[in-house]
Symmetry: C2
Subunit: 114 residues, 2 copies
């Protein structure tokens, strides 16, 4: 019960929803996400840990970066189910479209170390 409500709590924040939809395209490091959402590093890091705690995303160390990606689908199919729900809920959403455009155009090496 607590686990289920925590899942929906994780999904109940606009910035975390934007993060999930961005990660559909490709894995991203924290500073790339900061660049899109325009929030403090610490804030984005916390959002990511909330999403990780409910198994919606995973992290992978890559040198000094940490790449975040959508979780692998497992036997519960949780992530597939959630993402297909989000896809239909966000059809035509302006914020989501702009974010994904920004992600496509961004280059990690230009954004970070600014």
């Amino acid at each position: 019960m607590r686990q289920v409500s925590n899942l929906y709590k994780a999904l109940s924040d606009q910035n975390r929803l934007r993060i999930l939809m961005m990660l559909k395209d490709k894995p991203m490091c924290v500073c790339e996400i900061v660049n899109v959402l325009q929030l403090a590093n610490s804030t984005v890091s916390k959002h990511l840990s909330i999403l990780r705690n409910v198994d919606l995303i995973m992290d992978e160390k890559d040198g000094r970066w940490v790449n975040y990606r959508l979780a692998q689908s497992d036997e519960s199919d949780l992530i597939d189910n959630v993402m297909s729900q989000l896809n239909s809920l966000f059809i035509g959403d302006e914020t989501i479209n702009k974010d994904r455009q920004a992600v496509r155009e961004a280059d990690r090496h230009q954004i970070c170390a600014s």
Copy 2:
């Protein structure tokens, strides 16, 4: 965007999840729900208005009672999608099973006016 996060906010409370799962079985009035959740009338009423505001449930006046039921499925299929997600997330959940048992055994006319 706001609409989507509000949907998940509505789903992020354990008592509201319990209400949705109870309503799968049959429409219920506020005092029946109060009887199961053991919360104040005013608290349950507020939970119901939050669920109604995101179109997950509807209300129908019936004399001095107000019956709440799951929303009708519409072209967006929101309610069907959400409820099938909840069904799989709550498989084997003790609280949910007990609630639904209590609902089956309860008689509105004995519970209300106590």
